[in-house]
């Protein structure tokens, strides 16, 4: 409190902070980036460990024998799928019933706001089939879910086969204390959404589905299985869910522990873990893995069928079988044993998984970075905004020394101040609202007027509104309140900087990766923009660092990280599809990234654009 109440020390501190403002900001930015890059360095990370007692110490013996039979069932399923031209509902119901499950189906239909060109669907109709294995050992108050998607074409047949095989095997065991629900969902996430909404009696997205006839207890954990070949070389774990939400770290630990025990190669983000952390290539490998996680999390979309479970407080992950050119192969029996082991451990849970971390990044499957370690990286970036705000505040508080009649001058300045701040704020937010609503509203009109498909219409309208927003605000405000004053832009910048700080802080709490990436690009903009910097160059930098360009770079960067570099042409097409996917994710599953960018981040960025063209 001495620092806050002693005027001399306060003055010293404030003069230090204002005098050295720019150097401190630069140092903070560098330190923030360096801290973030350091997170992937193995000595700075923690080894994963099982926190949950109920899963840690118990011994489990896996005995699943029937891999070959599961593959046969998978082939049968594939044949019936081809015959039915979609989900072979009758066959699945019969097969599940034959395996002693209580079987139910759920029909759902959904009309997308505009056609999804990646998956070629518009009017979606489908059926989910699920069977419940009732727990013989306990009251049926809790449940676990194992799901496999029924995808068109030849993929994932083995997953369904293994699911049925496991169902048959589990049915004969007597130790289950939780209901196990075996779910085959059609149309991947849309089916999953319908099923979850039906299970929990909610309807958040306005989808049509028939109510569920049978339920188990409250779902404790879920795994989604994707398997498209008879033998695999490694298993990949996918954690990123809707809005960048992650399951409890113990679920990842469980998977890792069993892979170690059974001797299956396991990966995260498709990257094997390496032991040479002290070499450059080893470090860059773990940076790559972590950056992939950051990019995926920042996108806010569910990266597997498990992604929607997280919204209902259910810890879930997707497990993907990968078949590459490696010599060493694992057969389906082993994968079955792996899953059996995991389910038996989950079966031992006494309460929901909550012991371990929910906020983490993983540079490799055996190491993680927790919130306490990665938040300082963001904090260092956010502190720049606060420093700039403090600087502006001090500048505003001390009137320019040369004017003699300071008091009267200041009052003249402050009265248009409110209006000149309010106008850009309102206008940029209205532009944001336009960016949010117009693409969907105008798609039909655009399709009639121009030779484009609906999806292209939506994306191009979005880009159009975005670009139009650059021309709009600064012209209008000048008309309304005349020539902008020196005080005026300072006030506006103070508001904008604080707005950005709060916005980024909130975003980083919900989805660290998104908040960090936005901070990385927007903080420099916020720090340097004034009406006095060179116009053309600054405008160029501002556009380069705008949210839309950040997304474009992220697309290329993501491809680069996945070691699938694309040409500019392909990258641009990918960029367009990413935008349409983002909008679809919002309307289908309630992802928040699109509204966040359109309604808050973009208007905030426009404020800085406005400041640049203040005069």
């Amino acid at each position: 409190m001495g620092l806050l109440s002693d005027p001399n020390r306060r003055r010293a501190l404030i003069s230090l902070l204002t005098r050295l403002n720019s150097p401190i900001c630069v140092v903070c930015y560098m330190a923030g980036v360096a801290w973030f890059m350091g997170l992937a360095f193995e000595p700075f990370t923690l080894r994963t460990y099982m926190s949950e007692n109920a899963m840690g110490s118990t011994m489990v013996e896996e005995r699943f024998p029937a891999g070959e039979r599961a593959l046969t069932t998978g082939r049968e399923f594939s044949a019936h799928k081809k015959k039915a031209g979609g989900m072979p509902v009758d066959w699945l119901v019969k097969t599940m019933q034959a395996r002693g499950l209580e079987v139910f189906t759920q029909r759902f239909s959904r009309k997308l706001p505009f056609p999804d060109e990646n998956k070629e669907r518009y009017m979606v109709k489908g059926t989910n089939v699920y069977g419940i294995l009732r727990a013989p050992r306990a009251p049926r108050t809790e449940a676990l879910v194992l799901s496999a998607p029924c995808t068109p074409g030849d993929s994932n047949n083995q997953a369904v086969g293994l699911l049925l095989g496991l169902a048959q095997y589990f049915r004969n065991q007597i130790y289950w204390a939780k209901d196990i629900i075996f779910l085959v969902n059609e149309h991947d996430l849309i089916g999953m959404q319908a099923w979850l909404e039906g299970y929990h009696h909610t309807n958040t997205t306005g989808m049509d589905w028939s109510p569920l006839q049978g339920r188990g207890g409250s779902i404790q954990a879920a795994l989604s299985l994707e398997l498209s070949s008879d033998v695999i070389t490694s298993m990949d774990l996918v954690l990123e869910g809707l809005n960048g939400q992650l399951p409890n770290l113990d679920l990842a630990n469980l998977f890792y522990a069993f892979c170690q025990k059974i001797g299956v190669l396991c990966t995260i983000q498709g990257k094997l873990q390496r032991n040479d952390w002290d070499s450059v290539s080893g470090y860059s490998h773990s940076v790559q893995t972590m950056m992939l996680m950051v990019m995926k999390q920042a996108s806010g979309r569910p990266w597997g069928d498990h992604g929607l479970f997280l919204r209902y407080h259910i810890e879930a992950a997707s497990i993907k079988g990968i078949n590459s050119f490696r010599q060493y192969k694992t057969d389906v029996t082993t994968i079955g044993r792996l899953l059996e082991g995991m389910y038996r451990k989950l079966n031992n849970l006494l309460e929901r998984l909550h012991q371990s971390y929910f906020f983490y990044l993983m540079p490799s499957l055996s190491h993680f970075v927790s919130i306490g370690y990665y938040m300082p990286a963001f904090g260092l970036l956010a502190v720049i905004l606060l420093l700039r705000a403090l600087d502006l505040w001090v500048q505003l508080a001390t009137p320019p020394p040369r004017t003699e009649d300071g008091i009267t001058d200041k009052e003249q300045v402050s009265s248009p101040g409110v209006l000149s701040v309010l106008t850009p704020l309102v206008i940029s937010h209205l532009t944001g609202v336009a960016l949010y609503t117009l693409p969907i509203q105008f798609q039909e009109m655009a399709v009639e007027q121009f030779p484009v498909s609906e999806t292209e219409a939506v994306v191009l309208t979005a880009i159009g509104v975005y670009t139009a927003g650059l021309a709009l605000p600064h012209n209008t405000h000048r008309l309304l309140s005349g020539e902008g004053t020196e005080q005026g832009w300072r006030v506006l910048k103070l508001v904008a900087v604080l707005y950005l700080a709060v916005l980024l802080g909130c975003t980083a709490l919900i989805n660290f990766s998104l908040g960090f990436i936005l901070a990385l690009t927007l903080v420099p903009v916020a720090a340097f923009v004034t009406p006095h910097v060179p116009k053309v160059l600054s405008a160029f930098i501002l556009v380069i660092l705008s949210p839309a360009c950040t997304l474009l770079f992220s697309v290329f960067f993501f491809q680069e990280l996945q070691e699938l570099p694309v040409s500019f042409q392909e990258g641009w097409l990918l960029y367009l599809s990413v935008i349409s996917q983002g909008i679809l994710d919002h309307f289908l599953y309630g992802s928040l990234v699109y509204p966040l960018i359109a309604l808050l981040v973009y208007p905030c960025w426009l404020l800085f654009w406005n400041i640049l063209f203040w005069k």
Binding site: R311, A501, L509
Partner: protein, 435 residues
């Protein structure tokens, strides 16, 4: 001045009416920051339903508002939205008139002091000009009506708005010097939520100042005035309590309303300090800490009244702030009431020290409340500690804000009597330090 006020009222009513019609209203009325178990509209509706069924509304531990509120809504439940908007408008207009009157008095006092040459010469820049004071009442009304906190509270139909209206009317009648009405409204406010009881100290000080009764414990006139006020206060309180009893036909409401406020059985998270503390505490310490926490609210009255004997209106502001920070079920509506007074003290801005820091923290906390609530309750990834940390920070910021205003007020008074540019004994420039 009436035209801008009318415009302001129309604007604010429009905003509220639009929000009532939007889908946001439902979301807002569920927010723990906006409604408390005492003030939630949902609970009032439940109480009304019970009353219509002929059951005591207090059976079932859902409804905790006073009987007068439930009988009020018994008649106007169909016009609830209008009632709440009206309450806000009444509050704003009452504050507007009160502040206008107060400013006139301040200016008159300043004129006398100037004529009597009581201010040091270098204090001329501290003297307040009528031009600067002209817009203050309007700003006060604006701060109340357009404050997001008030709007949220009104849209959620939190009965806090009605309490605020009663307190505002109390302030208006006190400043106008009407002893009887002041006592009646004070008893109404006390009846509503106990804590405004502490406002009797500033009211007494103000009324005595107005009637030129010296605050002196040896004088009969002093005690006679206190007795008069106490008689009116207790009399009206007795009437109101009796009326409630006859309306309901039982004393059910006393434990259910006042017991509920004082013993804090409902630990639903809110922006206050009670819930987390009492949720974590061992049961056998509960009574002790309950007493400590509750006495805390009332205790500041004594030192503050002694220090601010000469400035009862500032004391009202301080008391309102203390109540809204330390009461057992605070909501943002309570904060909005004392924040409306901030423009009245705009002349203190040059002495405020932490206003930037505090406003940043308040702003950030207001944004973080829903975010951390989401992470805790919906995403399940954060926990109650995260939310409480923000609550704590929010309250620390409020305390800093209030103490900053307190310091600034005292410092201005100090300068007015000792001169603006203080010198040390050796002639160098001195600075005031609060220790």
């Amino acid at each position: 001045m009436a035209a801008p006020l009318t415009l302001l009222v129309i604007l604010s009513v429009t905003i509220r009416a639009v929000l009532y019609r939007s889908s946001l209203a439902e979301v807002i009325s569920e927010r723990v920051e906006v409604v408390s178990p005492l003030t939630a509209w949902k609970r009032v509706v439940e109480g009304l339903a019970l009353l219509d069924l002929g059951v005591s509304p207090y059976s079932g531990d859902v409804f905790h508002e006073t009987p007068l509120i439930i009988y009020l809504f018994h008649f106007v439940v169909d016009y609830a939205e209008i009632t709440f908007m009206l309450a806000d408008v009444i509050t704003a207009v009452a504050l507007y008139m009160a502040v206008m009157d107060y400013n006139k008095q301040v200016f008159r006092k300043q004129k006398y002091a100037l004529e009597a040459d009581r201010y040091p010469l270098d204090c001329l820049e501290l003297i307040r000009s009528p031009k600067e004071m002209y817009y203050i009442p309007l700003k006060v009304a604006m701060f109340y009506l357009l404050n997001p906190f008030t709007i949220l509270s009104c849209v959620a139909k939190s009965t806090c708005g009605l309490n605020n209206a009663v307190i505002a009317l109390f302030i208006l009648t006190t400043i106008k010097g009407n002893v009887l009405l002041s006592a009646i409204f004070l008893s109404l406010a006390t009846y509503q939520s106990i804590y405004p009881l502490t406002l009797c100290a500033p009211a007494l000080l103000y009324l005595m100042q107005r009637q030129f009764i010296p605050v002196n414990f040896r004088r009969v006139s002093f005690w006679w005035f206190i007795a008069q006020y106490a008689f009116m206060y207790l009399g009206s309180l007795f009437v109101i309590v009796g009326l409630s009893f006859f309306l309901l036909g039982s004393w059910d409401y006393v434990p259910s309303v006042y017991g509920f406020i004082l013993s804090v059985p409902d630990l639903t998270p809110n922006i206050g300090l009670f819930w987390y503390f009492f949720a974590e505490m061992f049961e056998h310490f509960r009574l002790f800490f309950l007493c400590v926490f509750q006495i805390n609210v009332f205790f500041y009255t004594i030192p503050l009244s002694i220090k601010l004997k000469e400035h009862p209106v500032f004391l009202i502001f301080m008391q309102l702030a203390v109540i809204s920070i330390f009461k057992s079920y605070p909501t943002v509506g309570d904060i909005a009431l004392y924040m409306a007074f901030l423009p009245v003290w705009s002349h203190l801005h040059r002495f405020l020290r932490n206003i930037f820091l505090v406003s940043c923290v308040l702003l950030a906390c207001s944004a973080l409340f829903p975010v951390l609530w989401h992470l805790w309750i919906y995403a399940g990834s954060a926990n109650s500690n995260f939310y409480y940390a923000i609550t704590l920070l929010f309250n620390v910021a409020q305390i800093l804000l209030v103490s900053d205003y307190f310091y600034a007020f005292l410092r201005r008074e100090h300068h007015l009597s000792y001169g603006l540019y203080l010198k040390r004994k050796d002639g160098s420039e001195a600075t005031l330090v609060l220790k």
